[in-house]
Symmetry: C2
Subunit: 641 residues, 2 copies
């Protein structure tokens, strides 16, 4: 089929639009971030990251690859990893959301140019990939384990969906539809019974079904989800668990294998479950999410604790110093949490999204939006080699953000997340509106019965715990304004009603139902004092250590705040002593610096350090680490013995 | 040159024969193990492992590769990894020591057969490798980073040296000499300025110099050591530190990069230092050894804490659950310790060798000598997939020993170590004999002045702490009989002199100088009670946990000793309560089993487990783990809070 205006979304565009579910998402015309913590990041993304990513994709040849296909020189000239097409698509998706959000002319022009280059590379039957299927290259679909062809379509289709929903005119939407039709024709019930080593096409196809109403896209997504887990793909060095092909999706106990793959697959499974009414599948993903959060998630919300295969570790295997916690896994986790929140209305999913956004997604980019962490370790012992400004960087080996990577999914995943972030803040249901994330923003929508409803949200969060919701649009009948109270705010949160009445509220949802007048204010006051947390005692890697949190932020210590020559590994803290503010979001802890004398043999009856010297230890928000130059860093701090 | 009878070694053969040094090694005719812990392993090695390894090398095609070269079909038919030749050579070395030790006719026949097959594959100019240099293969030396050609020569030369020193007649000795001459001609001062990504040829060439007196072999070894560390090899994904090419050998702070490579290189550097009088180089390796032992060594003596690149981790990075602790790294560590002991006489090197032998080398093989651990983790959370008996196994993913691996250096490295183990027990100096490792053994040699000296060593060690040295050969003038007192025996060791006088002795060396008579006994009594140790507080991964030791043995808990359905991760112990013997080398600790209830979110103000139930915890020798069927296991046990 061909995309037409009827597929456009008058909400301004939403990444995920389930046809059913407990909550309804709002679009970029309905929720706009106006400033603050996230507004700053949206601006940096729009003014720096989009252009930065585009210029790197040109420089490393990923865009020329499409022209190389057209000109018959792909077998010789193609550059980059086999999945580099997907990053061009992810960047177009980011630009599409940016155009939808602000009408950005430069992004629109880039979409136009890129779309034309890509369109020419598509084969008449819809096949589109620069790494396979041309002279001097491998056959189409000859390497489903590693070839990433269907993965690339997934990102192409997501870009197409963003263009359609965002009302951005581009031939790429039709390219995406042709590719989707080609996939259905090739991998349908009577076709190739394989699927991609890297999931993402599942959720892309469901969203395309939601945009177009074409059932075959949903059916194909369901086929891909159901085919997985029966040992169809080859048994690679990392084992089939790497790409979740060793156990069917609905039978797994927890997310496992390559973290980004696992989370994209789970998100696609939720989409399929919601659209097909498969409650068993939805419950399976919820159960896996619970187990993963309880046993396989870092205090930052980060996921993935194995470098070798970028994978989830075993239960309670969460070494801070080998945390992989890939930026893309955090993006995928937020996407999954959002789907589960919409389906169930359970704000525990928004709790995890908040933690992940503030402590992984916000950690990855530098303040200027032109360099990034690919992995988000919780402990860096050595500064390591510094990334060169002028070349691609390996993924996991520096204490300094790098401008680009040989695998550069993260910068583009961040770009599309920041550009569309407003769509993840607020939802609607039959009774009113629900605030899930706090930000300076304006909200303007209609309730299920068509009545207008809107409010302005003002907050200095996360620096301050007060969030004010001021009603800007309403109607005579009552409706409900709800706000999430984070699980970390278990003690002392207060909801102030328009009447001025103060009501203690616990974690979960706090609501006011009223016949609101314009100007009415609902205020949430969160108790924002720094606190220590300890891990479940089964987390071996941080036994005897504590981490500090401040509101939604995880804190860390950096070597730049220590006496010269001392390193973060010398830090010991006394969690019985109070944490005190030290300005600019920093906090002071009472502790000590350990001695640095070697033992001949490091194992002995007495493990204590008798020569530690008392010290005040400065802690800063984890997301800001490495912004003051190369530094070592750690989140989990050993308790002074 | 050609090997002749003049190169034979009338000691019965020794792996390492420095021309100078504080101590002199003894050969397989001078020290014979007669039973006990190590005698049993030597017998299993001789009667099972040698044949097992040979049959697997036939089965997986590594031996046929040599015929494939001769028959011009190597480009098409060659099987196995690029370094598989080296494993055939290591097995021949093991068989050579076995023939030297016992005259084993079957091993001699196998050497004969293999040598003929290999000899035919050598090119006229001495080049010999089945993976390069033939039609359909890469050019000779076109991939020094990964090609392993010089590494294979290293093992070929070590096999040749073993044949020459062991007095085993084989054409392979000449093959090795021709290969060494080819290496000197190709990589000498005016030739190819490269070196091998995997060290080992350095120590092989020095030993060949020691056998033949040909100085050019030593010079070539020195060239290889000196060339390293200047960024000559390509910058691979793991970085040049992987193969120690980022910093010159003498400038490094500690052993780093791939552990086996690092340790083989250090051993070769010691050999070069000793033969060239390069005290600075020797001191550098000693300093690196000290730093590595203090900061980068597991309580088992195991080395290597990174799976991804089989490498040493950063200082104090010693996660028990991701311990790589490759069997071959332990063999290499013992080889290095032995060289440093001979050079310096410092028994701390023998201390580490003992720990490594009992807790890594003895751990790897199954009791029947037909399956092996490639990695020797200190914590196994899940049993994982069980290795199939009939195919090669990946290296690091099971709680059960596997019969063979795609990379099978470990089974062959064990075989050559066990076959030659007697040569690592006792040394001589101008004043007498020194016992470094305890075993049932007979020793018969001559002192530096030619006087006969010998003794019988009897012990049930490590089950019992008494070691009796009964003089069997002596002469009228006094000489000195010394015995190492391990560092772990700091409290209560006693030396009983022939007179019956009892003398408390501390860690280090205990000696008796006397005009011994045949039948005189020197007795060492070591205090063999189980004990808890804690790690240096900088070892993050085992903070708040203790490990139990018993004599030289590290202990562990296995799930087979826990109530049904409970896992080793539930174990908590009280190190203030006494450890009590429980028969068969097992020990009982006082502790508890933790509750197994998940938290919604695993990080909270209180990290304690209020629902743990008291329990007695059974600990067994780590080297014996997984011998009672699949089990989970851990060495470091969390302290009950």
């Amino acid at each position: 089929m061909t995309a037409d205006a009827g597929t456009r979304d008058d909400t301004g565009g939403r990444p995920v639009v389930p046809s059913t579910g407990r909550l309804r998402p709002l679009g970029l015309r309905e929720v706009r971030i106006t400033g603050g913590f996230w507004g700053h990041r949206q601006t940096v993304n729009a003014t720096a990251t989009l252009e930065h990513n585009l210029s790197w994709e040109r420089r490393v040849g990923w865009i020329d690859n499409f022209a190389a296909v057209v000109e018959g020189r792909a077998g010789r000239d193609r550059r980059g990893r086999e999945f580099s097409d997907s990053d061009v698509y992810k960047l177009i998706e980011a630009m599409a959301w940016e155009v939808a959000r602000t009408g950005d002319a430069s992004a629109a022009a880039s979409i136009d140019e890129l779309s034309k280059v890509i369109e020419r590379a598509q084969e008449p039957d819809g096949y589109l990939n620069t790494a396979f299927g041309h002279p001097g290259q491998g056959e189409r679909y000859s390497d489903l384990e590693w070839g990433h062809e269907l993965y690339c379509y997934g990102h192409l289709i997501q870009a197409g969906v963003a263009l359609l929903r965002g009302g951005v005119d581009s031939p790429l939407a039709d390219v995406a539809l042709r590719a989707a039709d080609h996939v259905c024709a090739t991998f349908g019930p009577g076709g190739n019974q394989g699927f991609c080593g890297h999931p993402v096409i599942e959720m892309a196809l469901v969203e395309l079904y939601r945009v177009t109403g074409e059932r075959r896209y949903l059916d194909q997504a369901k086929l891909f989800v159901d085919r997985r887990g029966h040992g169809t793909l080859a048994d690679i060095e990392f084992g089939r668990a790497y790409f979740q092909d060793e156990v069917p999706v609905r039978e797994a106990d927890a997310f496992h294998g390559h973290a980004v793959r696992a989370l994209y697959l789970a998100a696609g499974a939720v989409d399929v479950a919601v659209e097909t009414g498969d409650d068993e599948l939805l419950a399976a993903i919820e159960r896996q999410w619970e187990a993963t959060v309880a046993r396989r998630t870092y205090v930052t919300g980060g996921m993935g604790s194995r470098h070798m295969d970028e994978a989830f570790g075993e239960d309670y295997f969460l070494p801070p110093d080998r945390a992989y916690s890939e930026t893309c896994a955090a993006v995928a986790s937020v996407q999954l949490s959002w789907r589960l929140l919409l389906a169930t209305g359970d704000v525990r999913y928004a709790d995890l999204a908040e933690r992940t956004l503030y402590n992984v997604v916000a950690t990855s980019p530098a303040d200027d939006g032109r360099s990034f962490f690919y992995v988000n370790t919780l402990h860096r012992r050595h500064v390591g080699p510094l990334p060169a400004a002028d070349r691609e960087h390996p993924r996991a080996e520096s204490a300094v953000r790098a401008p680009w990577f040989d695998v550069s999914c993260c910068p583009n995943n961040l770009a599309r997340t920041f550009a569309s972030l407003a769509a993840y803040l607020v939802t609607a249901d039959d009774d009113g509106l629900q605030v899930h994330q706090y930000a300076d923003a304006v909200v303007s929508t209609r309730l299920a019965d068509g009545r207008p409803a809107g409010f302005e949200m003002r907050t200095a969060y996360p620096s301050d715990g007060t969030v004010v919701l001021r009603v800007t649009e309403t109607s005579p009948a009552p409706w409900t304004l709800s706000v999430r109270v984070p699980a970390w705010a278990a003690d002392g949160a207060v909801l102030v009603e328009p009447s001025g009445a103060r009501r203690p509220v616990g974690p979960g949802v706090a609501s006011v139902t009223a016949a609101f007048a314009v100007g009415d204010e609902v205020r949430l006051e969160l108790p924002l004092h720094p606190r220590w947390v300890r891990a479940d005692p089964r987390v071996d890697a941080v036994r005897g250590a504590v981490a500090a949190e401040h509101g939604p932020l995880v804190l860390c210590v950096e070597s730049v705040d220590l006496p010269a020559g001392r390193d973060v590994d010398a830090v010991r803290v006394d969690p019985a002593a109070p944490l005190t503010p030290d300005g600019d979001g920093a906090v002071l802890a009472v502790g000590a610096l350990a001695s640095d004398v070697d033992r001949d043999w490091p194992y002995a009856a007495d493990g204590r350090d008798a020569a530690a010297t008392p010290a005040r230890i400065r802690l800063v928000p984890y997301h800001s680490w490495a912004s003051r130059g190369p530094s070592t860093m750690r989140v989990w701090l050993p308790v002074l013995e």
